[in-house]
């Protein structure tokens, strides 16, 4: 049965659903923008890991990354795009719908 919630769980957008990226997007959804250090401290990710996740999110059009200097110190500021906000909202709605379906789900005979 293709409509089973557990099967549809696998169809969630992995760009958003991956735990580290979901944490980054959740933090960015609560602010206008944040710098790299803040996201690193908040998620506990290493610099390399965080850079990798941010690159993927930027490629997917979910976040915008602005690089600049403050005096001689490089500063990277990240903000969520409007597309990113709507995709995150859409993702939460999907999860909520799946949660409700999963609580109602009864295994068919032979499952």
């Amino acid at each position: 049965m293709s409509n089973q919630p557990f099967e549809r769980l696998a169809g969630l957008d992995r760009l958003v659903h991956e735990p580290a990226r979901l944490a980054i997007l959740t933090a960015l959804s609560a602010v206008k923008s944040a710098d790299f250090l803040f996201l690193q401290r908040l998620t506990g990710l290493s610099k390399g890991n965080l850079s990798g996740h941010l690159s993927k999110l930027e490629e997917g059009g979910l976040v915008a990354i602005a690089k600049g200097f403050e005096g001689k110190i490089p500063k990277t500021t990240i903000s969520m795009t409007s597309d990113g906000r709507s995709q995150l909202e859409h993702h939460w709605n999907d999860l909520e719908r799946l949660r409700k379906e999963a609580t109602k789900w009864k295994p068919e005979k032979g499952d």
Binding site: A23, A27, V31, F36, L37, L42, L45
Partner: protein, 196 residues
């Protein structure tokens, strides 16, 4: 990285949305300054030729700014979404303006209540409201200070009420600031090295 390495998402959202509010150390210098000014023993009216009240408030504001730089340097910078569309700078200006007008009313009109005290109490209560789940102590402090502001109704002099209020407010800032800072530090997971 597994899902268990990451803070609960609701916690991440709360921390990011209330980032500047949670930087408790910033209000500690002002708390100490207010307690010093309201101390029951008389303090000198000037220190090195500078008015003591002015000096204490200047130290409080300078501490607030400097400790803001400390948080920015250690935990990063965030541009917050203005609450109800009003920027934080505009909100602060509105509170300062309301406090100054109320102080003028206290001095000129001598109303039967401590109006400037009520303004601060109202501000604390309102500021804590949207995030009262994590700012319950500010909400409670607002209620206590509002009650102190009504003390002139039962015969206390304005000067005595202002002193009690200043001391309680300073102590509240100090305790809440230290608590917020401690909870702020515990909120962040340990950062992993790039070699992991």
């Amino acid at each position: 990285m597994s899902a268990t390495d990451i803070l609960p998402l609701q916690h991440i959202h709360d921390l990011a949305a209330n980032y500047s509010d949670r930087q408790g150390l910033r209000i500690v210098p002002m708390g100490i300054a207010m307690m010093a000014l309201a101390w029951p023993r008389p303090i000198p009216t000037s220190i090195f030729g500078v008015d003591t009240q002015f000096a204490a408030l200047a130290i409080g504001f300078a501490g607030y700014w400097l400790l803001g730089r400390y948080y920015e340097h250690r935990f990063g910078r965030v541009e917050e979404i203005p609450y109800q569309g009003i920027s934080i700078a505009a909100q602060s200006s509105m509170v300062v303006a309301a406090f100054m007008i109320a102080g003028l009313i206290d001095v000129v009109v001598h109303p039967p209540i401590f109006v400037s005290g009520l303004v601060i109490a109202a501000w604390l209560t309102i500021a804590a409201w949207p995030s009262r789940r994590i700012r319950g102590d500010y909400f409670a402090a607002g209620i206590v200070l509002a009650l102190v502001s009504l003390e002139p109704l039962v015969g206390e002099s304005h000067a005595e009420v202002a002193r009690t209020y200043g001391f309680l407010f300073g102590m509240g800032l100090f305790i809440a600031g230290m608590r917020d800072h401690s909870s702020f530090l515990r909120s962040f997971p340990a950062v992993k090295g790039d070699d992991e």
